[in-house]
């Protein structure tokens, strides 16, 4: 540490702050570097998280008019909001079940396809690798609203591209967005299109990380391709599996923009396209039940953390 001790008594008095700074800056600077994060964290995360916690035990009784300063009148209702959500509110249950259905559907279908695509893209002599990488990433960086609009056209009953393609194969089309039964399959198709290629890029990065000499050694020891894949490649991909499953689950429960657009700011026929964050939005910002919406937020967080924890535990067991 450069300590400037060569100053005379007089000037050290004058420059004492500068002197102190030059001796101590390395000790103090990390806090200064962290200050923007900490400030933003306190104001825009800790405070609202606390406020949401208190709100979740309250209920909006009325609104104060603009002339009197505006604002909302709240009253404490204890655990009422949570009790209602967990025992009486069928729509919340529907939203959670839809989230789970979407999560299972996309993750289970997507994982084998994404892994297969990655294996192809990693195989020697296979062409179109750069093209595939470009194409598979593109849906991920496209706005969910744009994706929603495109699929509004694709899923149309009479003039939709999907039903048109089915008709060409001699299959009668269905009401993807209007028939309750087909809403979830339609959303899963949209989800696959958006995330399958993206996830295959993660598998590809994982595959490229598997040391070749390890596979070579196994082959020399007489292991066939399938055994090498099962006992060496798959264990090396473990972190990718964790990533794909957990981001897929969290994304499923937080789905908002695509269904919100596809169902015209609604929740689809018979709530078949209702997801937890959408329900939170409807309650908080359309019905102005702020307390209830906050309780939905906390329950949702609890469910997500629970599932994530469970997943991590399962994956830890797999390692053994």
């Amino acid at each position: 540490m450069p300590a400037h001790t060569l100053t005379t008594g007089d000037s050290s008095q004058r420059f004492s702050i500068a002197d102190w700074w030059s001796r101590n800056q390395r000790r103090v600077i990390p806090y200064i570097f962290l200050a923007p994060f900490l400030l933003s964290f306190l104001v825009f995360t800790v405070y609202p998280a606390g406020a949401a916690f208190f709100l979740s035990f309250q209920r909006v009784r009325g609104f104060i008019s603009q002339e009197e300063g505006g604002g909302v009148v709240l009253e404490y209702k204890g655990l009422d909001n949570y009790e209602r959500l967990l025992t009486k509110d069928k729509r919340f249950g529907t939203a959670i079940m839809n989230g789970a259905e979407f999560a299972i559907g996309t993750v289970l279908i997507q994982m084998p396809i994404a892994l297969g695509m990655a294996l192809l893209m990693n195989a020697p002599h296979v062409r179109f690798k750069v093209l595939a990488r470009l194409a598979f990433f593109a849906p991920y960086i496209t706005s969910a609203i744009v994706v929603g609009w495109i699929f509004t056209l694709i899923f149309q009953d009479r003039y939709g591209l999907l039903n048109g393609a089915l008709a060409a194969l001699g299959i009668e089309g269905v009401g993807w967005l209007t028939n309750k039964t087909f809403v979830m399959p339609a959303l899963i198709i949209l989800g696959l299109w958006t995330w399958c290629g993206y996830n295959s890029l993660f598998f590809l990065a994982g595959l490229q990380n598997v040391p070749d000499d390890l596979k070579e050694a196994a082959r020399i020891d007489g292991a066939n391709t399938i055994r090498v894949f099962w006992h060496i490649t798959i264990p090396f991909l473990r972190p990718v599996f964790v990533f794909v499953v957990i981001t897929g689950l969290i994304g499923s429960f937080s789905l908002f923009s695509q269904p919100y657009l596809l169902f015209d700011s609604g929740s689809g026929p018979g709530d078949a396209g209702l997801f937890p964050v959408m329900y939170l939005f409807f309650m908080g910002f359309e019905n102005f039940r702020m307390g209830y919406a906050s309780a939905i937020g906390y329950l949702l967080t609890a469910i997500i953390l629970l599932i994530t924890g469970l997943q991590l535990l399962l994956f830890r067991l797999w390692r053994v």
Binding site: Q25, F137, I250
Partner: protein
């Protein structure tokens, strides 16, 4: 050699296998590309033709009037400007703040370092949606509803970016920083003249990801922006059908034009972006 390889030996898959593998990859690319192609062609079609049988991907007749309508009847240009401005400011400040915090975690020792890093990880797992209601009430209190402040300031420091920057900055050699200290450089000087230039490629990746996220953001702008002239692109495009009763062709035109810059940047930098994103996941 070539003939041998094509027969399917240790050199690689056989010709038939290889053809099959190539066509599967190409089929995947095609399935991914069709919705994009359909978006572009639909933007050049007449509404009447789009809603007619048989369903085709290519237009029978090319029209430009969807674009005329988009620029003439909507605030599309204003939304575009709003989005470039807010995404730009958010990216520059956000990445700078994330790099500062990343440097603190990677290169300094201080009290409560573990605790602070735990905070970063905690914000990573907390779903943002929990905060929607109180954050909105806060924006009302601040008088920030319908202003750029509401879109730029909350959550400007993204925990994931701090996490990435910390990983990158760890590779900066300590000796270089110590040498600069001996030469009398200040810690801020070291940050600006040594750390930042050395992690510039990583900084670019983080910046692009942040920019794209803000560019595509919908839920938060939907909550805090109600004035049509303050809208961001995604919000504007989502509301096009309602107040304007714009035809779907014009919506496709808006979708195409709003996606174009993102796709171009991505095509130019795809290798770095994908490497930057996937690195964290494969290490676990």
């Amino acid at each position: 050699m070539l003939i041998k390889a094509n027969r399917g030996t240790a050199m690689g898959p056989g010709r038939v296998n290889l053809m099959f593998m190539n066509s599967v990859v190409l089929f995947g690319v095609l399935l991914t590309a069709i919705p994009f192609i359909y978006m572009i062609t639909a933007s050049f079609r007449d509404q009447g033709e789009l809603y007619s049988l048989p369903v085709t991907i290519m237009p029978r007749e090319w029209h430009g009037h969807n674009y005329q309508k988009l620029f003439g009847d909507t605030n599309f240009v204003i939304w575009y400007g709003n989005t470039i401005f807010t995404a730009g400011v958010r990216t520059v400040l956000g990445v700078y703040f994330a790099a500062l915090a990343g440097a603190a975690f990677a290169k300094y020792n201080f009290r409560f370092k573990r605790f602070f890093f735990f905070l970063v990880l905690a914000t990573l797992t907390l779903p943002f949606q929990v905060l929607l209601v109180p954050l909105f009430l806060m924006m009302v209190d601040f008088g920030w509803v319908d202003t750029y402040w509401a879109v730029i300031v909350p959550g400007i420091v993204i925990a994931f970016n701090i996490f990435l920057m910390r990983q990158y900055i760890e590779s900066v050699p300590d000796e270089l920083m110590d040498a600069a200290r001996i030469d009398g450089a200040s810690e801020f000087g070291i940050f600006h003249r040594i750390i930042i230039p050395l992690v510039r490629p990583a900084l670019g990746v983080v910046a692009i990801l942040t920019f794209v996220n803000t560019w595509n953001d919908f839920l938060w702008p939907l909550i805090v922006l109600h004035d049509d002239t303050k809208y961001m692109l995604a919000l504007g495009i989502a509301t096009m059908e309602g107040p304007y009763d714009v035809e779907i062709g014009a919506i496709m035109a808006a979708s195409f034009l709003s996606t174009l810059p993102i796709l171009i940047v991505f095509v130019l930098m795809q290798r770095q972006i994908i490497a930057g994103l996937t690195q964290g996941a494969i290490r676990g």
